[in-house]
Amino acid sequence: MSAAASASPTPTSQNPPDLPHEAPGTSGRKKASGTKGTPGRKGRKPAERRSLRERLRQDRTLLLLCVPGILYFAVFFYLPLAGNSIAFQDYQPYLGFKGSPLVGWDNFKALLEQPEFWTAVWNTLKISAVQLILYFPAPIALALFLNSLISNKTRRLMQTVVYLPHFLSWVVVVGMFQQVFGGAGTVTSYLNDHGVHVGNIMNNPDTFIYLITSQSVWKDAGWGAIIFLAAMASIDTSLYESAAMDGAGWLRRMWHITLPGIRPVMIMLLILRLGDILSVGFEQILLQRDNVGRDASEVLDTYVYFHGVVDGDWGMSTAAGLMKGVIGFVMIVLANKFAHRLGEQGVYQ
């Protein structure tokens, strides 16, 4: 998801100027002590270079505070990251990580020969493409609409309404769609009673892509609009005013002022989306996989889950997961490069 938000590795140095935390005096001192090497802590003499031991002792409370959190990331992020090396092993649970034999690229070769794997890749790309075309503009359109509401009260009410579904679980969202569009759902029954036979929309493999896209729009378009609304709020209103004076109607103002104003945000989110091109709503699809069958709904994540955890093909499915991760990473880097070339800021510098 929020893949390359790592943007600036040192956010400290990029604080917005209006945040009070770096008072002018502070930054001056920082510079002064920086030239001397080891900087001193607040309120103490930023004197000569202190020994490692002294610094450790001085910061021990702060460092101790970091321990549980860092430990968490080590165990539940970096350890599994390293654990991806079983993609190069014929991993057997009873032999364990150390006992399983190394097989080099065999898992990857076997994977690429599996037709199911290619079905999963194809479905993933198809869903990603449809979502890029149909889902991606939804938060922008919604933000444009909310932004056009002049009464603050109405706007706030609408924001409350459209943000809410974001906080529901996928189980609840799919359950709600079921009661409306399922075989016995209210809309389905209504349409059937009036001579339109749609069948069970929830079980139709042919329209599955559009079903999950509309679910995503219902759940997350509102939440996605927040960032665009913020970008629109930061556009200088005098631009609109002078444009209106020059006779530009609302459509022209939107096209020439609002949209260019939110372009950096659009590009950034597009880059992040490209990085996520191989992950499409895992829980959402997992929950509905039984309804529409594997052919229509198997995506890379569900493939990894069913072949690995369910069928016990550890090495090969880890290989699939690793490939997905690496491709996502490369996509972000490439998309960002491309954005820079076009003169955009991108996700990171």
Binding site: T10, K42, R55, L62, P68, L164, V171, S234, G321
Partner: protein, 326 residues
């Protein structure tokens, strides 16, 4: 949550936009009408109608599924049968379905598990988040930058399902409540949000406290935390919602039916069509199964609806702070 730096767009203009907003309200007072700026053309009735229709459509799209679920959960068997399965406004509302669901059977048990996991998990998550965010928020701490990189690095890559599963297995957490908490204990985004907020607290406060002899822990508890209630409430809500809604981890790591949380149970009844079993629910006669399903669904939504209005005004700010800083 896809969030990332939108610094360039947001940072420099914030001052101006605040001013212009002031200007706008000023002009409103002069004109005495709505908040429409003077330069904007008068509303076109067709456009107004269209906007109104869109507003109503959005409210219906979000509200209708909720109302339908509530109505159905309150309906009697006969009424549901007469209306083809779902009822929007029951003529004789009955709480029978809720009574059955909460009578001590599997669903009550699952709700208790979910509440327990959410409460304990959120408390632990907040504790670790605050500690780590504070540890990383002070300038020039020993090894501060590498530690921050460890946190931010988690944005770049996802380790994958299988290695995560193997780690949980190796730690002996399979089939324990811990498996529903430990793997999602911390979220780098939340840490960045809290850290950014802590950094916004003026240094003078720290310095004054230190002159009075306060250590870092005292400063954190006595000065920083009381000033950070809003951001802690928002981040706490994000964590609580994650725990409450988490479904896949439970499905992956928990086999013991007594330890399953509400979301997994909800899935088996509502989505997989498992039939309700009177004995498992701890009652003798069952109401309609759709009413029961919807009662479980409402149960799974209720806590979120309950806290949402209180936190709504804060979370936009929380999200944006994180977005600017990340």
């Amino acid at each position: 949550m896809s969030t990332a730096p939108i610094s360039t767009t947001l940072r420099p203009e914030s001052q101006e936009s605040r001013e212009s907003r002031k200007g706008r309200t000023g002009s409103r007072k002069r004109r005495g009408s709505a908040e429409r700026p003077a330069w904007m053309e008068q509303p076109n009735p067709a456009a107004q109608t269209l906007k109104f229709i869109v507003i109503v459509a959005m409210i219906v799209a979000v509200g209708y599924p909720f109302l339908l679920a509530i109505g159905t959960s309150l309906s009697s068997k006969a009424e549901l049968a007469a209306n083809g399965g779902y009822v929007l406004f029951p003529s004789h509302p009955t709480l029978e379905a809720y009574r059955v669901v909460l009578s001590g059977g599997v669903i009550t048990r699952a709700a208790v598990v979910s509440i327990g996991v959410t409460v304990i998990g959120t408390a632990l998550s907040l504790l670790c988040t605050i500690a780590l965010a504070y540890g990383l928020s002070r300038p020039r701490t020993f090894a501060g930058k590498p530690l921050l990189l460890i946190v931010v690095g988690t944005f770049l890559f996802t380790p994958g399902i299988i290695p995560n599963y193997l780690v949980v297995q190796e730690l002996g957490l399979l089939d324990t409540y811990g498996a529903m908490i430990a793997p999602i204990l911390l979220n780098a985004f939340n840490i960045i949000v809290v850290r950014a907020f802590f950094q916004g607290i003026p240094d003078e406060l720290h310095e004054a406290a230190r002159l009075d002899g306060a250590g870092e822990l005292t400063i954190l508890c006595r000065i920083v935390l009381p000033l950070s209630k809003a951001v802690i409430a928002v981040v706490g809500m994000f964590y609580a919602v994650t725990y409450w809604n988490s479904f896949f981890n439970a499905m992956l790591y928990i086999n013991d039916p007594d330890k399953l949380p509400l979301q997994v149970v909800l899935r088996s009844y509502v989505l997989q069509g498992d039939t309700f079993n009177a004995k498992a629910l701890g009652v003798s006669v069952l109401p309609a199964s759709t009413a029961l399903s919807m009662a479980v669904l409402i149960l799974a939504v209720l806590p979120i609806i309950a806290v949402y209005p209180f936190l709504q005004k804060y979370f936009v700010k929380g999200v944006l702070t994180g977005a600017i800083k990340a």
